[in-house]
């Protein structure tokens, strides 16, 4: 359903700016920045003062300006406040500057707009809704366009949507046939059609609208749209009408709001600051009451010596003022330097991430980058990771890795880590095979030898690979073949055959030409028994030049093995073993077989097939039955293993992360089979899992039912394991320790995410060890993350590489972008970026863990030291008539947090390590305290506070006890205020220094320097401040003249300080020791246990037997066979094209038929034998896909829509050879899309 915005429908008239301006549609100018020069200061200040702390300090500052209240000089607050505000402002300004820059860059891209019949260069930002713009190859689409015409046959147009939805396949778009005739600018300038369509929305896969032109209306669908963010490929040029521009485009609608991310510690800190504020008010009230009582009882009598300030006329008013005075004095419990220090520490941690060589990828020359500096400690608390698949877990590269031919296994897998020292040189094919693909790597010499020797099974095996597929080839120059495969799997297989001498060269609808060991061979293609999800296999029936008819089949082994001839039993067992081995390695496997057919068998079957094909009812079932008949008694040839190349170290990383109790969810736009396969190969799913639930329902009821069933199954298994004990209530689902996995598809997810079911879904999903969501849209990704974030109160991390991950990255607490790939949108939206998934373990387990630890230790100490510092004033209040007299010199108060105690704790917060980094990776359990939030929480906070208050008591009462009676050794009393101030301050500095020394677990030279340096600085500044030089200049300001000298020269003072230190520290030491002794943490044990004999845990471990997964099923789409036999994908002759383009047919079958005829007359380039041509004209190659099958298959892709079979566009995408990574197979991709446009049910009639 639609969420209607204020705009209920959009009307756009082409080439009519005046008309369109009425509606005030957004222009194509995008703005992601927050400020401009004028608004910067007010807006930024407003934002900053939304922080509780900043407002609080502003309030304090105002209080300090009132003379009756001011108990501290104003500079004690304003200096740090201004410092903080300006640092933040500069940072915000820089960030925004870069956003401006990137906006500008995008807005100023050039595009060609048709204005007044002439193509003019225009900046993107000046493009309006209703303009017609021309796009050229490899250009970004500037706005959401309605494709009007293109330079390609049938007005097809190929786009890459990687930036948009992350799918690297190319997609095809086709214009309406009426508009496709408007080829040149002159015609287009006359075009005045009006589009009425849906308002802007974020659904990438649907578009409903109608084009009104020349009194006709034409339904529009997503098939006609080019969305902003796509890149035009393989299309010389095309024209489009701007429908949505700028912020209305689907890309921008999908990008989600940029939210300011805060860490949980930030939030906790804000809560604590509020609490402390409450505490402050309590203290203030207590002291104000004290003041009232004192002024009434004593102060009133003391008035002859000290009359009340003029505005004060009674003790109550005095108490009121005293309250505010104390609020000022005690404000140092939350010094503003807290916020600055936290930022500094995070910045330091960010730099450590940037500097980490072990997160540097030399292949792409990218180092890890902390793009946000404020989230580091949250990296130590992650509980859920949401990962994209393609480009994140995998490299999206398929390699033909191993094969088993006639019971013999070939191929040796390269060590995926590249750690294998004795690396065999890849075979050199080019020497004997000029058509070989240079990028193909294979290491096993024996297969090549077998080919050379001419082993028939091997030859037949490779022949299957070279014939049984739907790959298209293009030979740009003689001998330079470019394959366009629908799925990378297929490309890999055909390329493998090519390198071993069975080169697939070209095809026509009725023939396949190969180059077998240097000899050109043309096979007659009799039939393609196409792939679909149920069959899980594909066959071709070919007649070789000798006239023998053979059926070649490849498919999932489970399916294929059932259809083998009984004599294959032994071979099947051996192959099966090999397949298990491959599956255990996470490879995608396929079994290959053939069957010889006699002419009679073929004729009989072809007859039945034609009957089935012509059937109108149950065509699918009948076709399937016919296929079934012929795919019997096959002879097994062997099996292939293709590796969907994972990124380096993915299984290890996932294993370590799950040992660290982090749950990993894979959210992918890919097909279910692919996603599951990847789940296996990266060890998220294993065969020892108790059960894997697949939720695939299309209706609310079915999804609910499936979820319910899986929960029941979980409970059941828990019950059986517990030996029939009472089943835990469903709320305890999470406590079930069974190994479950959940796989849910996008359309089910849409239901599961609805408000009434999300809890149910979450409960089920969270009880599983692994969750895979496939076929999800970018928005769904974000919704899933949001769901977990909202209900689980857990820290989430999203990792992805494509624009389709942006919303998820922005939604999660932490977003990680994989850099070094094509798109940078994910990186731009991310908080951290690096180029390899495996760096995640280091980011979390080392950097995150340390950051969290350091931040927690920092905060504990920080609150401690400030309570110790501030609460002394509280105790003093009882002796100074609650008059808000400070204990310390005001300079000490100003400098205490900034100078005397800041650096040691910063050094600890930046450099501290409890265990070495290797240990954090060896013991992933060390990560747990972060997830459970053990190191800094409300309890820890109270402990720190209590410790601080205890210290303040000691620091006040010990000097009080000693000094109130003491005299110097020359008889002068020590009980004067200045001596007391200096003694207490010195004791305080020493106590907190000892405490930081105790807290510091990792004493680098810097720590030493800062700790000793701080003490030194304290004494230096103390003596300087109390020197006669400063006094002589500013007698009023530096009236502590001589105090340091007089005080610190007294042994009794030092004895007091020593005593205070001992009394403050000894209990802490004792408690720490007891805790260590009675309840040692894992980190303590690791730290203390020097000789860890525990062997390094092997993450995951290879599973001996794997369930086999057919790679074929994963990346394939059905319908390709039909496309080939129909010939539409062949480059058509211009004549054929002319006849074709002028017509618009409502029946796709008719279209195909017509095309076939056009092709058979037009394609004369491969002179067929008379018999062949007769065969192709009389018995056209059997097209095997049916519309009904198409419907079933498509329903998975576009669940919401019902399909009409009208507009099925079949197309092949030509694709330039891509640059692929080192040593890849040079995958050639051909993407074929069979898209059902779905317009009938959403056309706006009128």
């Amino acid at each position: 359903f639609f969420v209607f915005f204020t705009e209920e429908e959009r009307r756009v008239r082409a080439n009519d700016r005046e008309y369109n301006e009425k509606f005030q549609y957004a222009s194509n100018c995008i703005m992601t920045s927050k400020y401009n020069i004028i608004t910067f200061l007010p807006v930024n200040l407003f934002e900053q003062f939304q922080e509780v702390a900043n407002t609080y300090f502003l309030f304090l500052l105002i209080l300090q300006l009132i003379p009756q209240i001011s108990s501290l000089s104003w500079f004690t607050t304003i200096v740090p406040l201004v410092l903080v505000l300006s640092i933040t402002a500069v940072k915000d300004a820089t960030d925004d500057y870069f956003r401006h820059k990137s906006d500008n860059q995008v807005n100023n891209r050039q595009s060609q707009v048709l204005i007044g019949g002439i193509l003019q260069k225009e900046k993107w930002m000046n493009v309006r809704v209703g303009d017609i713009i021309k796009l050229e190859n490899n250009q970004f689409v500037a706005a959401d366009l309605l494709l009007l015409s293109s330079s390609e046959p049938h007005s097809l147009c190929y786009i890459e949507t990687a930036e948009l939805d992350g799918e690297t396949n190319m997609k095809v778009r086709q214009s309406l046939s009426v508009t496709s005739e408007l080829g040149d600018p002159n015609n287009l300038a006359q075009f005045d059609g009006e589009v009425v369509c849906e308002p802007p929305n974020n659904k990438l896969d649907r578009f409903c609208g109608t084009l009104y032109w020349k009194d006709c209306k034409y339904p529009l669908s997503n098939q006609n749209m080019l969305l902003r963010g796509c890149v035009l490929r393989n299309t010389e040029s095309c024209y489009g009408l701007v429908i949505f521009a700028g912020p209305d485009t689907k890309l921008m609608q999908n990008s989600g709001r940029t939210k300011f991310k805060r860490t949980s510690i930030d939030r906790l800190m804000n809560t604590l600051v509020l609490w402390i504020f409450g505490f402050l008010v309590c203290m203030g009230v207590i002291l104000a009451i004290g003041n009232a009582v004192w002024e009434k009882e004593v102060g009133a009598l003391f008035q002859s010596f000290l009359p009340w300030d003029p505005p004060v006329d009674n003790f109550l008013f005095s108490a009121f003022l005293s309250f505010w005075s104390y609020v000022i004095i005690l404000n140092t419990v939350v010094p503003i330097s807290l916020y600055v220090s936290v930022e500094v520490i995070r910045l330091g941690h960010s730099y450590f991430i940037n500097w980490d060589r072990r997160m540097f990828c030399s292949r792409s020359n990218t180092a890890a980058e902390a793009r946000t500096t404020t989230l580091n400690e949250e990296l130590g608390q992650v509980e859920y990771i949401f990962s994209d698949k393609t480009g994140t877990l995998t490299q999206n590269i398929m390699t033909f890795n191993k094969c088993s031919i006639n019971g013999r296994a070939y191929g040796e897998v390269m060590d995926i880590l590249g750690a294998q020292q004795k690396r065999v040189q890849p075979l050199d094919f080019t020497a004997w095979n000029p058509l070989a693909d240079r990028d193909f790597c294979f290491y096993d010499q024996s297969l090549l030898e077998a080919v050379m020797v001419g082993e028939p099974a091997v030859h037949e095996f490779l022949r299957v690979l070279s014939l049984c597929h739907t790959v298209m080839s293009e030979e740009k120059r003689e001998g330079v073949l470019v394959y366009k495969a629908q799925s990378p799997d297929e490309g890999a297989l055909v390329t493998a055959a090519r390198n071993f001498g069975f080169v697939f060269r070209s095809r026509t609808p009725g023939t396949v030409t190969t180059h077998e060991l240097g000899k050109a061979v043309t096979y007659t293609l009799l039939a393609i028994l196409d792939f679909n999800n149920i069959r899980k296999r594909m066959s071709v029936i070919v007649r070789n030049p000798e006239g023998r008819i053979r059926l070649y089949c490849k498919g999932a082994d489970t399916v294929l093995f059932e259809r083998l001839h009984s004599c294959n039993h032994e071979l099947m067992n051996i192959t099966s073993d090999h397949l298990n081995e491959y599956a255990g390695d996470g490879l995608r496997t396929l079994a290959l077989a053939y069957r010889d057919l006699s002419e009679e068998q073929w004729e009989a079957w072809a007859e039945r097939f034609r009957g089935a094909d012509k059937a109108t009812d149950c065509r699918d079932d009948r076709l399937a039955a016919v296929y079934e008949e012929i795919e019997q008694d096959m002879m097994l040839l062997g099996a292939t293993a293709v590796e969907d190349k994972l990124q380096d170290g993915v299984p290890e990383t996932i294993a370590i992360l799950s040992l660290a109790n982090i749950k990993i969810w894979v959210l992918t736009g890919d097909k279910q089979e692919t996603a599951v396969n990847i789940g296996y190969s990266c060890k998220m799913l294993t065969d020892d899992m108790t059960e894997i639930f697949i939720v695939n329902g299309h209706t609310v009821q079915s999804v609910r039912e499936e979820l319910r069933k899986s929960r029941e199954r979980m409970l059941e298994s828990a019950r059986t394991r517990d030996g029939g004990k009472e089943a835990p209530p469903s709320s305890l689902l999470e406590s079930i320790s069974g190994e479950f996995a959940l796989i849910i598809s996008g359309h089910s997810l849409a239901h599961a995410l609805e408000a009434d079911m999300e809890r149910e879904f979450l409960e089920t999903a969270c009880a599983c060890r692994a969750v895979i969501c496939c076929r999800v849209t970018p928005l769904q990704k974000a919704l899933v993350v949001e769901l977990v974030k909202r209900h689980k109160k857990a820290v989430t991390l999203a990792i992805g590489d494509g624009a389709n991950d942006v919303s998820m990255i922005k939604t999660a607490h932490i977003g990680v972008g994989i850099s070094g790939q094509e798109g940078i949108q994910a990186v731009l939206a991310s908080d951290y970026s690096f180029s390899q998934f495996r760096f995640l373990q280091r980011l979390l387990l080392v950097h995150g863990r340390w950051s969290y630890l350091r931040m927690c230790r920092f905060l504990c100490y920080f609150f401690y030291k400030n309570f110790a510092f501030t609460m002394v004033h509280f105790w003093f209040g009882f002796f100074c008539g609650f008059s808000a007299q400070t204990v310390y010199d005001q300079y000490f108060i100003t400098l205490y947090n900034i100078v005397y105690t800041s650096l040691p704790v910063l050094a600890m917060g930046i450099f501290d390590q409890d265990v070495p980094e290797q240990r954090s990776l060896e013991y992933p359990k060390l990560y747990e305290p972060g997830q459970l939030n053990l190191l800094f929480n409300k309890r820890e906070f109270f402990i720190c506070i209590a410790q601080g208050i205890y210290t303040s008591v000691v620091l006040f009462f010990i000097p009080y006890g000693v000094l109130s009676h003491a005299t110097q050794s020359n008889g002068v009393p020590l009980a004067d205020y200045q001596t007391f101030a200096v003694t207490t301050a010195t004791a305080l500095v020493i106590v907190v220094s000892v405490q930081i020394a105790l807290d510091t677990g990792y004493w680098t030279a810097i720590n030493h320097f800062f700790i000793w340096g701080s003490l030194g600085t304290y004494f230096t500044i103390l003596f300087a401040m109390h020197s006669s030089i400063l006094f002589n200049i500013f007698p009023k300001q530096f009236h502590f003249l001589g105090s340091a000298h007089n005080t610190l020269g007294q042994p009794v003072v030092w004895l007091t300080i020593a005593l205070a230190t001992v009394i403050s520290i000894a209990p802490v030491l004792a408690f720490r020791f007891l805790k260590l002794d009675l309840k040692p943490q894992l980190s303590d044990t690791v730290r203390n246990t020097q000789l860890v004999l525990q062997k390094k845990r092997k993450p995951g471990g290879r599973v001996g037997r794997g369930s086999r997964r057919s790679g074929y099923a994963f990346a394939h789409q059905e319908g390709f066979g039909e496309l080939i036999t129909s010939g539409k994908n062949m480059r058509l002759s211009s004549m054929a094209l002319a006849t074709f383009a002028s017509r618009h047919s409502s029946s796709w079958i008719d279209t195909l038929r017509r095309k076939k005829h056009a092709n058979s007359t037009g394609a004369q380039n491969t002179p067929p034998t008379g018999e062949d041509s007769a065969a192709s004209s009389q018995t056209p190659p059997l097209s095997t896909s049916s519309s009904a099958a198409g419907k079933a298959g498509q329903a998975c892709n576009e669940p919401v829509l019902t399909h009409s079979p009208d507009d099925i566009a079949l197309s092949v995408i030509r694709c330039p050879e891509r640059e692929v990574g080192e040593c890849s197979t040079g995958t050639v991709q051909v993407n074929i899309h069979l898209k059902t446009s779905s317009s009938t049910n959403c056309i706006l009639w009128g």
Partner: protein, 372 residues
Amino acid sequence: MGKKQAGTGPLSRRPDNSAFKQQRLPAWSPSLTPQTVLPTFYILSLVCLLLGIWLLITVEYTYELKVDYTDAGTCEQCFNLRKHAIDSSTPCKCTVSFHVPKTFPRVSFQHDVVRLSARCLPQGDVFFYYGLRNFHQNLRRYMDSRDDAQMVGRKNNLKAPSSYCAPFDYDANGKPIAPCGAVANSMFNDSLTVMYNPTDGSKIQVPLYRKGIAWYTDKNVKFRNPPTNNTFSLQQAFEGTTRPLYWQRPVYELDDTDSNNNGFINDDLIVWMREAAFPNFKKLYGVLNRAQGPFTEGLPAGNYTLSINYNFPVEPFRGRKELVISMVTWFGGQNYFLPIAYLVTSGLILVTAVVLTTVFVKVGKKGKNMEE
């Protein structure tokens, strides 16, 4: 963040392999082990014990005597007289008798230490203090109510006292007060004379040094008189100012006997201006002059009479006044708090140490963990 150098080559952006950037700085990682913690506790306990004992012995050598003369002896009438501000100018004298049970001896074995640390102190180590109770010199507004710039003798500040001194900055006629402020205004102005009454019936005045009782820095840096010379007397320097409200004499006539002890550098003023941290305090009044008579060896035991020029009113704020006679060691005057605190601490630490040891031996898990 993370500026990228525009370098070339495949590894141009590789971070430096420095120990700092890779967080591999050599470091010392101490941890709390029983081998370090337990001995620390025992040693601490021992050190505190020894210190406590030593301090206790030292303190035992010192004596202190307090004579509360607020309303004792004949001072009761003065006490009552000073209740009312009207009578503040009426002089009132009274005497209080007290007994010194023990001689305040010279602490000979620490003589050198005393001499060393008392540079400006004349010979003699019996100290006379006046003590005040319940007098709050530590109130915020009281403490602020002074002008250090004025007291350092700056001409400008002399005639223009700081606003902090209000309401003791200008008198009713608008004349600036010198020294201004509540602190100076409330200066203790009793004068005390102690007479020794030996058994023979005679009366010998106990000679006191009344100078050199303030911090060196106060006397010589912090408090300065406005510049004077031979022709320009101190009185002239203070021309245009008036004495504080409660004072009987102007600041340049504080000491009749010694003209060098007048103005802002008057020792009594300086001592008073060094505000006490707590409401009960004592301030040095004088030091026994042991030059002659029975006082060479200290203050002999016997009967004494304290005669007071009773000026300072304490009744309004329910305060008490006392004379404190004390002697000092290297450690200062009599002060039992510190030695006792040390002894108590020592005991507590010992108890803790024993508990920790027990826990470690009996229930501690660490031992087992270590063995694994």
